[in-house]
Subunit: 336 residues, 4 copies
């Protein structure tokens, strides 16, 4: 049974997800496209889904009879209404992160889905599908004893002028916020942000780098370095210290060479290349669940909790290193 | 346009390739199954391809109107007739290695395909599709200068009783024989086999380990250690020494842990796990080419040359370390 | 000119330093020995320095005409009086860490030496002489741009019952406290201690592990994990993040093996093995300077500052993660 | 008891060994210097051994009453007469490699020493004292099971014009020839040399690189790549494959950095830096044995066998890859 998918938002990620549904993954087909700029939708139609229908309005795409499931890959701020519409239509919906740009927005989605009574929403936290993180979780669960500390780092070579300090949480740390909850099977109870001096390359309005310290309900202490002007490359590091030993996220596959008096492995410089394989696994998971009329993977609850945690970290950025408590509302049974 | 595929030989590899066509890859569907043991075909039908038709005879499957392309995953010795039948029917055919169990058999396939005038045959040398080897080739082509030497190793923890010395070439070294030709874009002109003392774990009729030394037309000297009783794991190593430096095949992705006073990465022990990702890429290449009525990737010529080289290496096993010359017939223009 | 050395405290370290002066290093000879337990001194005399004279009282050894320089390797709490006596006698003195068990004690030594007007005291912070740290400092000074952050870890497999929380600073972190000042050519302005949950193996009175966060005058943010029940081995990690890149302390030299399905390097389990080579370089530095009637390497000022910083960290252990300010007194010109 | 040493040949190595006896190592003193160019000896006297006496003729230095032991660090071709003279005088003698430039010359030394009846000669194969090789031997002896194969490489970035093909054996492979015998506790029974095409940077009269294949009495198969125009650095590799697993010589200690999109360790480019620490351990071993009037470490028999093996390899260079048998004379009991 081929899942007929409608894609809302055919920008960079929307086009890429359309490509993998049409050319890479089994069991699904893009039958409908929509974008704020219709010509963007038509361009994707021409290149990747000639038989798909282009809708002016996302809502119409969602309502269409021949659309079984929806991909929301539009700009972050526009996700919420489309996800709510898909839930109203009882159709599985994959929503790129962030689920919504505010915790309240995400809460509205959780409430709607809980009321509907069956999971329909998968949020695009692709790291949970990365072979490295999956293997790391197996090691955390089975090899190193109960986790006690995590040392992580999220480094970009550079960021554009409009990247301001809170974006270090909403756009950058958001991936660690979600994946470490999943990795540790735990929730955060406090956040603290510590700032060294500003990096020379960090432009006027951005305090970079920063170290975010999170404490979890089970007592794990996490430190995450965020350095978005690290200059040398795009580099994600994650090391979990357990009772019996330590497990470390592998470096991306690379050819080791001996050249110019150096034993060297290339380090990626473009974030797009770092988790490229995980998007296939992520979308495959969505297609398989959509075929059953439901959704798996990161839930709208995870999207809602990510929003709550991000807000706490942004608050903590202003607290001179003081810890900010994080309390989560009760989790609807749907997400147990 | 969905490529309708018939699978002949639904054993371990046939079942696995059927699974990836049905559940993992886009653009194809298994519509026909056949096996020497019909119940093996019916088992795969039940589990993976309920709408597929089971044929008693492979030839009938190939002839069927609704079969666009053929997978030959039967026992090695039975490949040749099916591939010839597929060529006769003008249908693209993926044939697991070996293309045929003798050089002459492979030659008959090359001649038939050359006569047909369009490539139809892809041979199952999956290492060319492995992300590690692909990245290694890019380094060999672009970073280390012209290749001069290769140091490789193919190690299995253990082999069954019936594994005899020639199988170290036909079943084990065959993968290096093909992948190093492709890696270096070169051909072998001689083979020499050197034997250290027998390993203690090497059973009666097997001289293991052995080091095969190959020289290429461009003057590259290759040494490949084959050790099929290495005990510690399944381990493939490949290092290319060029004019300016060295490039090395990466270790498979693994979690590094600090446990029990050891900094350790797990080493695979089952050959099936080593190139598992490459089979998806390999079959995807076949489907995309079959959709155009042709074939890409390792050709029947590559299968034929692999057979010639293997025979030379088996001869060299008996020559006390003397080099055995390898001369290839003229390559039909179809394979330039 | 052979430097004639007297050793006070012939326990584990005193015996080892005597061995290296007598059998490994050039330019010095042990001519006098003294210990609270005379038989300990006589045992070292018999094994390593038959021509040396055993003194009942350290003070008498210091005063002896044929003693050019003094080694104070007695129990920590007894160092101060011997060092003061050596200064009074104008003789170069190597004092194992800690210089004194209180900041005031160390201050008295600094004042005495400053009054004397020439450096006579070298403190036993051997890590500054470790080939790995020396190479790391060269990389920090020349390769990675100005330092911004440091991520370090000091892990012991286990500690005895009598090891209590403050000792994690005085006995364990003391080495990082000194070596990171030297590595960064900087001083600390605040200390904060964060505790995850207690490790299961951490006995009653010990809160282990802990993460000490230090800020320096130049704005570098340092986090040091101290885990003295880490179980897997004795492991020292140190990574410096600079404007342009990152430099990491090398792992101790070890043989990488492929055994039992693991690519593995042994990790040390005994702290004595970790910096064993550095003690030779450290004592050689002392001998060369003593031959000129002075001292080099870590000064009494460094010993004094280490005591001040340790006290601040111990205070911070009780401050629920709040930062404790560190202010240093003016540094006497002698130590510029 | 301080060993009084006379040094014959105060060039690069002679000066360096004098430095380490005078300034680094305990238990010895340079009391006499001699060189073909007296001013070279006087320069070393002025810089490093003001109280030493300069002799015009090495023979007079050897005969001097106040010389307990001799260092022969003159040009290779001049070693034999000095070593014979030292044996005649019954004085321990450290002779840089080669012991003699011909097998016969080395044999005369073995015969003289055997006649004398006590070991007096240590040959300067410093790799046996390298911490990496010592740890590798422990792994070979205790961890990986009986050795079956060795894969090694000896790479120089470049060599001067006068470096011709046989020097790849006499000057370069000589170190592997000795150290692998010691590592495996074995002897060679055949040598074979295989040549890939010439490297572009290899000048006219030099066939570089080459792979030397050695077989040992215990049946171990050894391949050693010699590439003296490898361009990227000075790189020594050695991997031993045993019944149960593999052990690999560690890379020299180096700081791993993340810079310019590369995870990189520096590779040495000057052979002098590679085994610099081993010379201290080597000379210390000589001093300790000389204090007892004898010699330890690599013996004159090892120097003689190294010469025999080198000659066999040079012969094999001309044999188009054919194996050249190696038979050793009976080993005098003195060297068991
Ligand atoms: N998971 C990841 O690693 C990852 C990476 C990048 C982006 N994203 C997320 O994916 C989403 C899209 O990112 P992108 O990089 O493709 O952005 P983009 O700007 O390239 O594409 C966004 C598309 O949405 C369209 N759009 C905007 N408002 C719309 C509306 N109201 N209705 C329909 N279409 C609308 C725009 O016209 C544009 O074509 C964002 O939420 C972003 O956070 C996730
Ligand atoms: N590329 C690789 O890494 C790789 C790995 C394993 C096997 N192979 C190759 O794949 C092929 C199959 O291997 P396998 O492990 O699946 O073997 P298998 O024994 O598990 O399966 C072979 C199947 O072929 C059937 N068969 C035998 N003769 C037949 C005939 N004349 N007509 C139709 N079916 C016939 C058998 O009944 C069996 O079901 C072999 O050629 C093998 O060399 C390749
Ligand atoms: N740099 C390092 O890594 C390192 C490592 C271990 C110990 N240390 C330091 O070295 C010192 C000695 O440590 P150790 O492990 O040898 O201890 P130890 O207990 O083995 O030896 C201490 C010796 O001092 C003697 N002693 C005690 N009081 C004395 C006094 N008043 N006068 C003379 N002798 C006295 C004791 O009898 C004993 O023989 C301590 O200060 C310790 O902190 C440094
Ligand atoms: N173990 C190693 O890694 C290593 C490295 C380099 C050199 N070596 C060996 O050390 C020896 C010296 O090498 P080097 O690099 O110092 O050479 P060098 O040319 O720098 O020094 C040789 C010295 O010997 C002197 N000399 C020559 N003939 C003499 C004679 N008949 N009597 C006394 N002195 C004489 C020369 O005047 C010169 O001062 C050689 O045998 C060389 O093979 C060993």
């Amino acid at each position: 049974m081929t899942v007929r998918i409608g894609v809302i938002g055919t920008g960079m990620i929307g086009r890429d997800h359309t490509r993998r549904i049409q050319q890479v993954l089994a069991g699904a087909e893009v039958v409908a496209l929509s974008d704020y700029h219709p010509d963007a939708a038509r361009a994707v139609q021409a290149d990747l889904a000639p038989k798909a229908r282009v809708y002016d309005k996302g809502e119409d795409l969602i309502a269409a009879d021949d659309v079984d499931a929806v991909l929301v890959t539009s700009t972050g701020a526009t996700h919420e209404p489309y996800v709510l519409a898909a839930i109203a239509a009882g159709k599985p919906v994959f929503c790129e992160k962030p689920l919504a740009t505010t915790a309240d927005g995400a809460k509205r989605i959780v409430d709607a889905e809980a009321a509907f009574g069956r999971r329909l929403v998968q949020v695009g936290f692709m790291r949970r599908y990365d072979a490295g993180y999956v293997a790391l979780k197996a090691a955390v669960d089975n090899l190193i004893g109960a986790p006690i500390m995590v040392h992580a780092a999220h480094r970009n070579p550079t960021v554009p002028e409009q990247y301001v300090t809170p974006m270090a949480i909403h756009d950058t740390l958001i991936h660690e916020i979600d994946v470490l909850r999943w990795l540790l099977n735990d929730d955060y109870v406090s956040a603290r942000v510590l700032f060294p001096r500003k990096a020379a390359r960090s432009h006027g309005k951005l305090r970079d780098p920063q170290v975010v310290v999170l404490e979890t309900a089970k007592g794990v202490l996490i430190d995450v370095e965020i350095f978005v002007n690290c200059h040398y490359g795009y580099d994600i590091q994650c090391e979990v210290v357990g009772e019996d030993g330590i497990a470390k996220l592998p470096e991306p596959m690379a050819i080791q060479t001996r050249l110019d008096a150096k034993l060297q492995n290339p380090i990626l410089t473009d974030w797009k290349d770092r988790f490229v394989d995980s998007y296939d696994v992520e979308l495959n998971d969505f297609i398989k669940a959509a075929a059953q009329g439901t959704a798996a993977g990161p839930s709208s609850w995870d999207g809602y909790v990510a929003a709550i945690n991000s807000d706490a970290c942004v608050t903590a950025q202003e607290r001179e290193g003081e810890a900010v408590a994080i309390t989560l509302p009760a989790r609807p049974a749907l997400y147990d």
